[in-house]
């Protein structure tokens, strides 16, 4: 299934891997790369043999960095708007995916790469992680949802520090401020990621899907409505309610 130029995919033990690999020192998230990511994700999402998806830049030096600066420098506002829209579309796809998507942060993760990590459900980091959001050094803010997702994950004061100082954070710091959920030793990184992802991929798909939907919705709805949605999601996981039996009884009776 490797029809891709800037990445390759693999399925192993119910985990679908998406390896960013654009043949340069850093994986840049330029337009073509984002389009390929969207297409490859669509394929992995539709595979019933995949219970969980991992995005990584392993074994390269970077997970991902933002767009190509030389290309971006000459953007008009309209081109910037389109580019932002394209990236946000990818992140919406990750969020609305029925499968959990894990970012395995093998190394340098900057700008748009940080935003890609934030769009995923979980972030696992190698000890080699260097993560930063250096937009203010370039005279921009990010357009890939980072200004919204980062404060929701680490709090507004820490998000402002990350954006304002532009500095790189180590794996240890990222773990302390809850920017990543786990840190694994660099020499066992992908093995540990696989173990972790395989465990999630073993869970019943419907329950995983609904848990992800509920947790994402929790950001946007009041607690009363959230609880109503939770009831519905919970009930939908039970195959035979009394109501279903009544319906079946009705059809059985009328079939005869």
């Amino acid at each position: 299934m490797d029809q891709w130029q800037l990445l390759h995919t693999e399925i192993r033990n119910r985990v679908g891997y998406l390896f960013l690999d654009n043949d340069q020192r850093f994986n840049t998230l330029h337009s073509e790369c984002i389009q390929e990511l969207r297409a490859a994700l669509t394929v992995l999402e539709s595979e019933s043999a995949v219970g969980c998806i991992v995005i990584t830049g392993d074994p390269g030096e970077s997970f991902a960095v933002g767009a190509n600066i030389a290309e971006m420098r000459d953007f008009t506002s309209v081109e910037a708007w389109d580019f932002s829209q394209l990236g946000q579309g990818l992140f919406e796809q990750i969020e609305s995916s029925t499968k959990p998507v894990i970012a395995a942060l093998n190394g340098i993760t900057m700008g748009g790469g940080c935003d890609l990590a934030l769009a995923c459900d979980l972030r696992l980091a190698s000890e080699r992680l260097q993560i930063a959001h250096p937009g203010v050094k370039l005279g921009i803010i990010t357009g890939f949802c980072g200004t919204q997702k980062l404060p929701r994950l680490v709090g507004s004061h820490r998000a402002k520090e990350i954006f304002m100082t532009s500095r790189a954070y180590s794996a240890e710091e990222a773990l302390r401020i809850k920017l990543v959920e786990q840190v694994f030793p660099a020499d066992q990184f992908m093995n540990r990621v696989s173990e972790y992802a395989e465990q999630i991929a073993q869970q019943p798909p419907m329950a995983l899907n609904l848990a992800k939907k509920m947790l994402n919705a929790a950001e946007n709805v009041c607690i009363a409505n959230g609880q109503v949605m939770e009831l519905g999601a919970f009930a939908s996981l039970f195959p035979r309610s009394g109501h279903m039996e009544k319906i079946e009884e009705f059809f059985t009776k009328h079939a005869n």
Partner: protein
């Protein structure tokens, strides 16, 4: 000014809360002086950022009890409204505002610090809300900003018990962003502010605004707002300069235009 000192250094304003005879407690006069300072600094384009601190080893104790205890309900509303307006003014200040705190950071003082972009402290800092011990509650936005920062459970614990939280715990729960040695706190924070303010001021301002505004609306709408602000960056001189300098491997010179 009776309750503040202000110093301008390298285009940055250092404001110190200064009522040393009462541990820099916050009274109406201090609120009004702070408000007028922030309003003046806001319209002064030469000022790139603000460092807020306190004199004599403390940031600020809570509201001035000698004044507050005699309030009628109407006076209490006026006091709280003035404090809330000040905190909103600080939060919406168009350039970075960092709090450098030590010693007591209590009640109204903590609420003012919470309105800054983030809080940096030394190991002597102690944080707390003692309002409930006096039969009142925090009213400068503290009941709203604290839970958003440290989570609802921790905010309730701090406000219900009135217990003081030390510097290490404050760092762990995210009330404080970084700790510095007591001897160098002000220098260290000043350097950090200098560095931040050497970056693109327009993107700092827009970043602040989309973070704060976005926190009040749902994620999808917030991301659209961010997209539009991102696009606007590409019509600024700062963006061309910042990216140009990156490519040419030189230091950018941002104009804020």
């Amino acid at each position: 000014m009776n309750t503040l000192t202000i110093e301008i250094k390298d285009s940055l304003a250092i404001i110190s809360l200064s009522r040393p005879d009462c541990l820099n407690s916050v009274n109406m006069e201090m609120l009004k002086e702070l408000q007028s300072q922030f309003e003046q600094l806001r319209s002064d384009e030469a000022i790139k950022g603000v460092l807020l601190t306190g004199v004599d080893g403390h940031f600020a104790s809570g509201g001035d009890l000698d004044e507050v205890r005699h309030f009628t309900p109407l006076e209490a509303i006026a006091f709280a409204e003035t404090g809330q307006k000040l905190c909103s003014l600080i939060e919406a200040f168009p350039r970075p505002v960092l709090a450098a705190v030590r010693g007591y950071v209590l009640g109204a003082g903590l609420e003012i610090a919470l309105a800054c972009d983030y809080i940096l402290a030394d190991e002597t800092a102690q944080f707390g809300f003692k309002e409930l011990c006096y039969g009142v509650l925090p009213a400068f936005g503290g009941t709203q900003r604290l839970p958003r920062l440290v989570g609802k459970g921790r905010a309730k614990e701090m406000i219900f018990t009135g217990r003081l939280v030390g510097a290490d715990e404050a760092l762990r729960i995210g009330l404080v962003n970084q700790l510095f040695p007591a001897v160098s706190l002000l220098d260290d924070v000043f350097k950090q502010l200098q560095k931040i303010c050497s970056y693109g001021l327009l993107s700092l301002q827009m970043g602040k605004e989309v973070i704060d505004t976005g926190a009040e609306i749902n994620l999808q709408a917030a991301c659209k707002m961010e997209r539009d602000a991102f696009a606007v960056c590409f019509s600024t001189a700062d963006q061309k300069e910042g990216m140009g300098a990156f490519i040419e491997k030189r230091k950018p010179r941002f104009s804020g235009r």
